[in-house]
Symmetry: C2
Subunit: 205 residues, 2 copies
DNA sequence: GTCTATAGGTGGATAGAC
DNA sequence: GTCTATCCACCTATAGAC
């Protein structure tokens, strides 16, 4: 049995899907759980605190996916593993993905999210930068500024995923399996372009 | 002097920025224009019609940007020109870009947007597919399914732009000029990967 | 084309009983 | 920890005067 605190967060997450943060109302959360509207206030001081808790859970969950991907033996394996974790997070927690990476900061409604979240995102980004730097150091990627290459890779993954999550690839990919295949297919030209092209090197990962 | 109809749309666009479609209220639009709340109803039947009109204007505007980009002499010039138009639309009409490409369909609030909008998006997509196909036919891009390559390119552009518009690249790029430079820099590895690599061909566009 | 008056709905939050 | 009762703010939309 899950405790009410977590069930409230779960319900709020699903309501977020309907229309963003503004669709999460205390009354709807309560109704969904067969509680009175005011019962929620025993678990969260107010709506802002509820949304912040939800946002924090989203980021914590993402961090967990990313860190659990560590373990590959070679830099290229670790790089690919990070991409897999990113994709898995997006597909298994699409609502959290939308909160973390697709919500315009102005849509949060409230001022600023806690500093801890910014730090967590920074650590995640530097995790990716480290994966890129490793590959550069081993000569697997063309030399360059790791941060900028990392953003390019991140943007590419994010672009494919966010078009899918907003339903704009529905004509192209029907099932989740089809989409996973397309994700890696779309990644190929970029990976080719990142590798040094010393006369036709075509070592696929 | 702009007529009230257009000023209402303009105001609604700016309110959208604050918190999505739900932040656009008839009262706030009216207040912004120093009108009574009910005056809006002389120009739009109700809120849904206002939002649809706004959405349609967003798509029309995008189409205009895209079509005005036609004119380059070579397939590669036309391809690059399309990418420039896409970027220009995103930077000059960021709120419209968010509506067209970043809003989860479920956040629209209302059932379905008019069929005309879907058709317009389809035409825009096939415009890009044609640019890709041209380049493939001339041997500038590796042979493949033009639709899938087009999506890969689209996703890449969209990824860079949407991360920027959500404020996630603020540490990397400060000014609009810096971002434009980064947009093309991030595009380079992908372009490299799209070109046939017959022993070190490095013809940049 | 714009106004005021108004009806009816939804949502955030508190107080106090159980 | 959950309830009911309650208040207040804000929203959509209509009716009818000017």
């Amino acid at each position: 049995m899950i405790d009410t605190h977590d069930r409230i967060l779960e319900t709020a997450k699903n309501l977020y899907h309907e229309g963003g943060f503004q669709s999460v109302t205390m009354r709807k959360v309560a109704a969904e759980l067969d509680l009175s509207a005011t019962a929620i206030y025993r678990h969260f001081r107010n709506k802002e605190h509820l949304l912040i808790a939800l946002f924090e859970d989203a980021h914590r969950t993402f961090t967990r996916y990313l860190w659990e991907s560590l373990g590959g033996g070679t830099p290229l394996e670790r790089f690919r593993s990070a991409g897999e974790a990113y994709l898995r997070f997006a597909l298994e927690e699409p609502l959290y993905y939308q909160m973390v990476f697709m919500a315009p900061s102005s849509h949060l409604g409230y001022e600023e999210m806690p500093e801890t979240i910014c730090e967590e995102l920074n650590r995640s980004f530097h995790f990716l930068v480290d994966r890129v730097r490793e590959c550069m150091n081993e000569g697997l990627f063309t030399e360059g500024v790791p941060e900028r290459t990392a953003v390019a890779v991140w943007a590419h993954s994010h672009g494919v995923i966010s078009l899918y999550l907003t339903g704009q690839l529905n004509d192209l990919v029907g099932s989740r399996e089809e989409f996973e295949a397309f994700y890696w297919e779309a990644m190929q030209p970029l990976m080719q372009g990142l590798q040094p092209h010393n006369g036709g090197g075509r070592d696929r990962s």
